[in-house]
Symmetry: C2
């Protein structure tokens, strides 16, 4: 029932995000998928759980984001007609609220400094109407970091990765190449090991690394990593 | 086809995360849902898109996480049997890799300082095998911040919220109460406005606010906000 495609030619798309409260019974998501398919709404994400507390306790709560080519009220009214649906609440999509994500992975001291630069630069962009968020995890060990780096393309809205550390190589370097092959650029601090040789950009100062990462994914900034690829600052 | 429930009595649950490459045709997600329902795998999240580049270009890519009560290889082998499925790759779940999330929202300078404390504290926990990540967005304006605060319960794995600013009230205070009603505690910096009066904990120093937020959601820390609820430090 679900149809998964992107109509890149049509530019009048909008993401419609809803929270659906439904009876906890088999078939609800299938029915939601059927409605979305009928009106050519492309499901992007679903998240579902049983509400444990509050007025919806015991009901299924489904967060749904779909790409839709028209008035969201049509999708919402069609969803409300489904048997077993209690309520459908329309709200802004995660992309509208939290925007593109800078992901920072590495050692605590350096991750915090990259975040300092990135958060302050994102602030300047968000004040002008953009939405850029800065998401971090401090980790230790080649295997652990490599696994997290590899998982970055699976994170919704991840737009750029900054690796903040003093020694990275081996499996982390392989993981960097994997992330790049998925269209996500990688900034590395200047550090020991092979990781920085695979990076799109190497930056010595962690604060500047964070700032440059934000500037690159900004739609109003003029900085573009592809114009300085492989360089070191 | 999908069944949405949590068997809280059975403790031998594990999250199974897979990336599925499939033909871009109607019905694939319905079929995946059917297989999950048959073997009592509870779908938690789906994310789908068409691969734009690489060897999978033109195919549908579906990231699926399901709660499952047995050997993941059964789920995977059943998924591989579905008509139109090209490949199923098993990997760690987002919860295993990125863990619980501290969310920090507010003004850039203060968000960065809370992140500094939280990242360094999360580092100490993650070294000991926990997984805590620190995710931030700097924003300005009552309406904008209130909308982001309200959206926190919709973020996967969000465990605690820190509001970092100098003046917050009005709709933000209402949004704090909504987030708390969804089981997510809220830490506020000491600031002007009604927001801090609704907070579970008020902390003057932003670095300490970040540290306390991490300590609260840690499974190995001994700090518990409920024991100091409403207090100010």
């Amino acid at each position: 029932m679900f149809r998964i495609f992107r109509k890149r030619i049509v530019t009048m798309t909008a993401n419609c995000a809803v929270t659906i409260i439904a009876e906890n019974k088999t078939g609800i998501l299938r029915d939601i998928g059927a409605v979305c398919a009928e009106i050519d709404a492309n499901i992007i994400t679903t998240q579902q759980e049983i509400s444990a507390e509050g007025k919806d306790a015991g009901y299924a709560k489904i967060n749904l984001e779909a790409e839709f080519f028209g008035d969201a009220s049509l999708l919402i009214s069609r969803l409300r007609e489904i048997n077993g649906i209690i309520s459908v609440e329309h709200h802004s999509s995660a992309a509208e609220i939290f925007g593109k994500r800078v992901i920072v992975i590495g050692g605590g001291a350096q991750v915090a400094q990259v975040a300092l630069g990135a958060v302050n630069e994102a602030d300047r962009h968000n004040i002008r109407g953009e939405r850029i968020s800065v998401d971090t995890i401090p980790l230790v060990g080649e295997e652990t970091i490599a696994r997290a780096v590899e998982a970055v393309p699976r994170l919704p809205r991840a737009a750029i990765l900054v690796l903040a550390g003093s020694l990275m190589g081996g499996k982390i370097t392989d993981a960097i190449r994997y992330v790049q092959s998925r269209g996500i650029p990688v900034v590395c601090l200047k550090m020991v090991g092979s990781a920085s040789s695979a990076a799109d950009l190497v930056v010595t100062d962690p604060i500047q690394a964070g700032i440059m990462a934000v500037m690159h994914i900004s739609t109003i900034g003029v900085f573009d990593i592809s114009r300085v690829r492989g360089k070191e600052f």
